[in-house]
Symmetry: C2
Subunit: 592 residues, 2 copies
């Protein structure tokens, strides 16, 4: 049975030694002193280890059941959800005006990692609720806010997002679900939505569906899509529940993973709905949540990697097979623990170096999001819009790879469900697909974000890399191991960006053929920057004699591994990008 | 519901245009004319498409059941197994003296791909039987051969391999299963074995277990391991079955995939067994089968990739979402098929280019195996021993990656079990683990094969690359697109081999830290060689006006993709190798 322990020291290091959050000029950040955040993470860690992690395999094995139109969650989920609500955890990031605790996205993201690592399926129920909360808070009327927000903040009600239809996923312009205006200002929603996570369940008394639909007579395609609030149970003016809406679960999907979360086919049959935001501006309302939701999925990918890594490392220190090639390290035992073998270490370090770098990238992204929301910072907004597809695509791809590597450490036991390693991989796999498949992230990055605002956001990113290298140029501790490889990787990134600028206008396929590699190339440079910053922080702490020396020495060694063994991937991505459109587009469709 | 069609034209191309098998001086190969092999593959393809593929999801969903000590296979497996036996398919590669058809391993491997792609779990039952057949044929007494071989050839009985114990997988020296000699020359076997594929089932009247165990008083560790034949049901001298042996199924494992194959905990409780081969030489007997078995697993990895690719390509041509960036290609439809999008093509071509190159590599490996067996060729034996870990490790790693990429093409539908893409990935995953986890393959390659016989096998491989490049130097059709990148990749491989030679003696950890990258580096160069040979064959056919021009043009374009977009990975692998042991070994075990 796998276990999970929140990596509090690692999170604290990123917040306080690297990002120095309490000193950042973001409203609310001054309160984030190390003692306070440590207390929050320790408390979240206890729930994660003792309540959520033990339910992870229960959820996987039992899954959700649809019985007489009602979805039952796995044994124990309901009690755990009550415990989470009682602790106010779902309200952490929400507006105090509606019962929230007003904490920054940074804190919510870090806590989200802890809960998600312990039990992704479970954590999705309140994660999606937060998405619905954000949409209503950004686009709702005063009345809508008063009706829905307090219930969503407390998780007495939960939320969903309804975009996909059987014939239309990425291309929402093909949508068929209809919303017919009624005389009383409400709409009648009719259509079928699929892949609705947490679409129904027994954890809350109501489910608030946010549904994209078309009002007849509106513009064609994607410009005629509006967003509606469609509660499972209708709400009276006084807030009381007044009976079922015409919303039903058509089917529960059997999936590769996240079995504990109900993925529903939702049928709307003249269901009562209320316009959220302006008519035909539904996508804009949905996109408000996008950066937040995509950062949330990046977090999930990373979280599964962390959970899998912890169990792989424990196994590698425990399992005795063979002897170290340089002589026995456990001479009194029948064999050495497999962690003595270089290739086992390679697998563990691939994970460890990615996870710690990825966490820094994710938490940096969360501070940018806070800076946008709390300070209205335009530069941060540009940067976070550029980096969001990278966070989502790169961290979930690498996160999944880590779960596979972790599984491999256990050999045959990794393939047996009882050991739990398969579930980490199966659950992580969805993060590469939902909230915009990773290929769509790459398209968003290269097709829109890269050139937007005259390429200013990309220049801003390069500027940060360059100014960090410049500021550290005199630090011998970093030079050869960190700054040189970072500079080389940044040059690869610049060459790739220059290539897109050159060919993008004349041969858009050439840019798009390299989009996925560019997403990974940018991800590697971002992690190279993160590792260089972490190395700088650890080297400074060691020089000043602050903190635990072993902790900082481990950071430096792990960072060196990243720079030496993972970052050189930038050259391969550049070679692929520069091969252009021809290899990708040469064949007609019939040749596949 | 996924479908499968045997890629007969692609297999035929490798056999006849590239390897020109009928002209090779290997006994039995002269019979392999194109009409004959095409007829075999077409017939195997019919069974695969119409009998085995429809049972693939049945096997996944139902799995095997242990009821009162008896394992039941999924609905339909038994009838399909009878059909396969009736067609003589399991006997294809076996010795005619025991009822086999005497075909080369080459034919068996190609047919194995077809069956395995359609249903890996099912195909394992007779695949493992062939392993037991090979061991007994190589090491059995005349009496043992007479008793067991005809039944294994016909699959009236099936076979297993019993190596792993709960505390001992890779390190077989830790084995505890005991074999106590009896006065009548038999042994009493007692112990527990785990992860026994096809350990029990209802497809055959008997199961012949090959069991590794220790005879008390023998040498310590791995040198004291012997191999035994332990039938589930004891056999009288006249060949009649005479009652149950003390062998029982302790448990069926719940696994990530291959649910249709029973993975058993086998308990031996003073079971009657018969020594196979010499006392204490059990590992040697097991290793006889190893090259064959590892090639078989490489084949499985490739086969799942092919099956997944076929369904991903079909989906990409059918699913309408969005428009080509260069203008609508399906202007009368609501959207274009997603195959117009460069990133979708990237995913498909990553698969297609790997699969076709990998198939050529695998079939070349099978001809080398035939040359060893049928001609006793020492050079081929050295080369196949060098390439076997690469075939197993590289083709299964890349095969799994292909199934993940294929799943990604389907977006959300890829994650839903009903579509079958998840099963391809879950089934393929085991190929990276069993028959020696891929890290062990890398260790075998760098720790043993690379330097064995003074590095002669590696030099032999380089010699083949160089002589091919030399022979083609005047062919303009190949130069820039194929020969130049192949030569560059071969230089990376040579640099890596030179690095290992330099550091291997003084710092074995430095060699082992790079072993996995070396396995992939060698795999890429091998596929680069295969693609160059295929390009040469297709260019020649086009120049001569032979064959279907579209087929050969597609081969050339797919090959160019491999050379331009996949082969450059050699540089990254070399960089990782040359980073040495330090990044991998720097941390103490406590730091993980």
């Amino acid at each position: 049975m796998p276990t999970y322990t929140a990596p509090v020291a690692d999170i604290q290091f990123v917040l306080h030694d690297v990002l120095k959050v309490a000193g950042q000029d973001i409203p609310g950040y001054a309160d984030l002193d190390p003692d306070f955040t440590a207390a929050v993470f320790e408390e979240a860690g206890k729930i994660a280890s003792h309540v959520l992690a033990p339910l992870n395999r229960v959820g996987d094995v039992e899954g959700c059941m649809l019985e007489n139109g009602v979805v039952r969650t796995p044994t124990g989920f309901r009690a755990a959800f009550e415990q989470l609500k009682a602790g106010g955890w779902p309200a952490l990031e929400c507006d105090p005006a509606y019962g929230g605790q007003g904490m920054p996205a940074l804190l919510g993201t870090a806590v989200g990692e802890i809960f998600s690592a312990a039990n992704q399926s479970f954590t999705m129920y309140h994660g999606l609720t937060h998405g619905a909360y954000s949409a209503i808070r950004s686009h709702g009327t005063a009345e809508q806010m008063a009706t829905y927000l307090p219930k969503l903040v407390s998780c007495e009600w939960t939320g969903t997002m309804n975009l996909t239809e059987p014939h239309c996923g990425t291309d929402l312009g093909l949508m068929r679900t209809k919303a017919i205006p009624q005389a009383d200002g409400t709409y009648r929603i009719t259509g079928q939505k699929i892949f609705i996570s947490a679409g129904d369940h027994d954890l809350a008394e109501n489910v608030v569906h946010l549904v994209l639909a078309k009002i007849p007579g509106g513009p064609e395609g994607i410009k005629g899509v509006s967003l509606f609030i469609v509660p499972k149970i209708l709400v009276s003016d006084d807030g009381a529940l007044r009976g079922r809406n015409a919303v039903s679960v058509g089917k529960l999907e059997e999936k590769m993973g996240v079995h504990g979360n109900a993925t529903c086919v939702m049928n709307y049959d003249e269901a009562e709905g209320y316009l959220l935001g302006a008519e035909h501006k539904g996508l804009r309302a949905m996109f408000t949540m996008m950066n937040e939701a995509r950062l949330g999925v990046a977090m999930q990918g990373l979280a599964q990697a962390e959970a899998a890594y912890q169990n792989a490392a424990a196994y590698a220190k425990d399992r005795l097979q063979g002897r170290a090639v340089t002589g026995p390290e456990n001479p009194d035992g029948p064999a050495d623990p497999i962690i003595v073998h270089p290739d086992v270490r390679r697998m563990l370090l691939d994970q460890k170096a990615f996870i710690e770098g990825g966490r820094a990238f994710m938490l940096w992204g969360a501070t940018l999001l806070d800076r946008v929301r709390r300070s209205g910072d335009a530069e941060a907004e540009g940067l976070v819009s550029l980096l969001t597809p990278v966070l989502k695509g790169f961290l979930t791809d690498k996160g999944f790879e880590c779960t596979i590597a972790a599984q491999q450490v256990l050999g045959g036991h990794g393939y047996i469900e009882e050991w739990g390693m398969s579930q980490f991989a199966r659950d992580a796999r969805i993060t590469q697909i939902y909230e915009g498949a990773n290929g769509i992230q790459a398209l968003d990055l290269v097709g829109r974000k890269l050139a937007s605002d005259g390429g200013r956001h990309m220049s801003g990113f390069f500027g940060r890399v360059e100014s960090f290298i410049g500021a550290c140029a005199q630090k011998d501790a970093l030079g050869e191991d960190f700054l040189d490889p970072l500079a080389a990787a940044a040059r690869d990134l610049q060459a790739a960006a220059a290539y897109f600028l050159k060919v993008g206008m004349t041969d858009p396929n050439a840019a798009l053929a390299g989009s996925y590699d560019f997403m990974h190339l940018l991800g590697h440079v971002a992690l190279g920057l993160m590792w260089s910053q972490m190395a700088d922080a650890s080297a400074s702490a060691l020089a000043a004699g602050e903190g635990a020396a072993a902790f900082h020495q481990t950071k430096l060694a792990t960072g060196r591994y990243y720079m030496a063994r993972l970052l050189p991937a930038t050259r391969l991505h550049l070679a692929r990008i520069e091969s252009g459109a021809e290899p990708v587009m040469a064949l007609g469709a019939h040749a596949f």
